[in-house]
């Protein structure tokens, strides 16, 4: 069954990440959060929560981003270079099953990683606030949006990895993340621009992933609520963008000669 084969490939991808000590980044994260919690408690009077949430969620996002890009770009190319793919694809495994399995394996790794980092963020919050507030619940929404960002960036890294070298894939994926983080500004610029520049800016603004609408760290740090409509539209957007990128990776990989 396709589902079972995808699950086996995903599980092996997760195991590879664990054995390659990818989750060791959690140690660095724990040190960072502990240090920040202790330091913030001493130097920031009245804004401890704001600083911890801002710092914690930004760190979750950056740590995950680095993992998503640097493992994502090697998901396919490493298997081709090391020829481990040959003994997989000579079995009753379809190429799309391989790509989708690899994708879910890395997303699973990122989800587990984010879960433990989230524990760290809440631990630091507890340390500086000596208790939780109702508004802290929005941190969970921000973490959910960060996972949606990981879905998109992993799919893009996989897409680039299916036809390009690891170095170029990393450059493309990181560039898209940076441009996508300013997608709202690009859309604003496109609205103001005229003629060809308008069309060019609008094209780029809507083509790149809109990471800026998925970044609610600042709002959450200030205790502002997130609307259900934004949660729904962001979820739909991220799932569609991810599905398109993974489908692109599948389409390219289906036609690729594995020399």
């Amino acid at each position: 069954m396709s589902g079972a084969r995808v699950a086996h490939i995903a599980s092996n991808t997760f195991r590879e990440a664990v054995r390659d000590r990818v989750l060791y980044n959690l140690i660095a994260f724990a040190v960072l959060m502990s240090g920040a919690a202790i330091l913030v408690g001493q130097i920031s009077i009245g804004i401890e929560r704001l600083v911890v949430i801002n710092l914690g969620l930004t760190a979750v996002s950056l740590f995950g981003l680095v993992i998503a890009i640097f493992i994502g770009i090697g998901l396919v190319s490493k298997e081709i270079d090391k020829r481990t793919l040959y003994t997989v694809l000579s079995r009753p495994v379809r190429r799309w099953e391989f790509i989708v399995g690899k994708f879910f394996g890395l997303v699973g790794t990122l989800a587990v990683n984010t879960f433990f980092m989230a524990l760290g963020v809440f631990g630091a919050l507890l340390w500086v606030s000596h208790g939780f507030q109702l508004a802290d619940g929005w941190v969970l929404v921000a973490l959910y949006f960060i996972i949606l960002q990981f879905l998109i960036i992993t799919a893009l890294a996989l897409l680039f990895s299916s036809f390009s070298s690891p170095l170029l894939s990393a450059v493309f994926a990181f560039a898209l993340f940076v441009i996508g983080s300013f997608a709202e500004d690009l859309r604003g610029f496109a609205a103001m621009a005229q003629g060809a520049v308008h069309w060019l800016a609008a094209g780029v603004a809507y083509l790149v992933p809109n990471f800026s609408s998925l970044n609610v760290v600042s709002s959450v740090a200030h205790g502002q609520p997130i609307s259900a409509q934004l949660v729904f539209s962001n979820t739909l957007y991220a799932l569609l963008y991810t599905a398109m990128a993974v489908s692109g990776a599948v389409l390219i990989f289906e036609r690729r000669n594995l020399k």
Binding site: R5, D20, R91, P92, K259
Partner: protein
């Protein structure tokens, strides 16, 4: 039904970064391999052997032509559940132990959950690695990896096996074990298609061989037919350490080896030679027709300059 049918299979690659040019890796290959056969695919390095195997495994796509395995198209997953493949110089997920790797492959091949452990233990035993079952593959030697490669190929009890240079990286004992294993697989009725440039392996194992060079099929046939006595000569060995004058009139060149003498002469002179030796009261040890070795046949099928590349006997 043939185990493998290859019909006009060709592969051309675009090579070069700036100025693309076409490179033909395989030219219109036609082959039919019967079920239960051990078929050797011979050729020097770069002849097109690995390209053919990659085409059959669906790893690269043909430029033209087609192939069927067990009557099914090459990308049919039902067919892939019934074949096993050992790539050349295999490399595996080195963070896994041998058992974990084989269990993973068993899952992908659709081996029933209850049967996996037993199959994995059995194939590790078959390839001589029962003690390395719990060792991570990053600690394996090249020869051990080759054995794991063979284990993963036979793990799901496939009907047709494709081995790309199966003896590569093995020591003499390992090569012997793999030869024995291949013979055992043949006894079980498996079809084996294997590529090699080690001719002695092909000569001792194969029912039929094909010779490929520069992407072109140069010859195909049963090993006995290819190595039959086309020379029309015989080798006569007798006890003694000198050549009597009466024998010298028949054969000019004799070789001494210990307490025996050996001469190779045309079949037409065989009777005269036997009579001469009997007259001299010399004991004849053997009379053997001179057979063309597979190596000689191979070299004949290649031009001398081509044959120099990568042939080992």
């Amino acid at each position: 039904m043939a185990a493998i049918e290859i019909i006009g299979l060709s592969k051309t690659y675009n090579v070069g970064f700036w100025r693309k040019r076409l490179k033909c890796a395989l030219r219109s290959l036609d082959l039919t391999i019967a079920q239960g056969e051990i078929f050797g695919f011979l050729g020097p390095n770069g002849a097109g052997k690995t390209t053919t195997l990659k085409l059959l495994m669906g790893l690269v796509f043909p430029s033209s032509g087609m192939a069927r395995i067990l009557g099914m198209e090459i990308n049919d997953p039902r067919m892939k559940a019934r074949i096993g493949f050992l790539p050349e110089q295999p490399y595996f997920y080195d963070y896994l132990t041998a058992t974990e790797l084989l269990e993973y492959y068993a899952q992908l091949s659709g081996v029933a959950a209850g049967d996996r452990r037993r199959r994995v233990s059995k194939v590790l035993e078959q390839v001589g690695l029962p003690d390395a079952a719990k060792v991570q593959l990053r600690k394996f030697s090249k020869g051990m990896l080759q054995r794991v490669g063979i284990a993963q190929a036979i793990l799901h009890d496939p009907e047709v096996l494709f081995f790309d240079e199966p003896m590569s990286g093995l020591d003499p004992i390992g090569r012997r074990q793999v030869r024995d294993l291949m013979e055992e697989l043949k006894r079980q009725g498996k079809t084996i298609f294997f590529s090699t440039h080690i001719l002695s392996d092909a000569e001792s194992l194969c029912d039929r061989v094909a010779i490929i060079h520069l992407g072109e099929l140069r010859g195909v046939g049963a090993v006995e037919d290819l190595t039959s006595s086309v020379e029309g000569r015989v080798e006569i060995v007798w006890l003694g350490n000198s050549v009597p004058a009466s024998v010298r009139t028949i054969v000019t060149e004799c070789h001494a080896s210990g307490d025996t003498m050996r001469a190779v002469l045309p079949e037409t002179q065989q009777d005269a030679m036997i009579d001469a030796l009997r007259r001299e009261h010399l004991r004849i040890v053997s009379i053997t027709p001179v057979r063309t070795s597979l190596e000689e046949y191979f070299v004949r099928k290649l031009k001398p300059s081509e044959a120099a590349a990568g042939v080992r006997s």
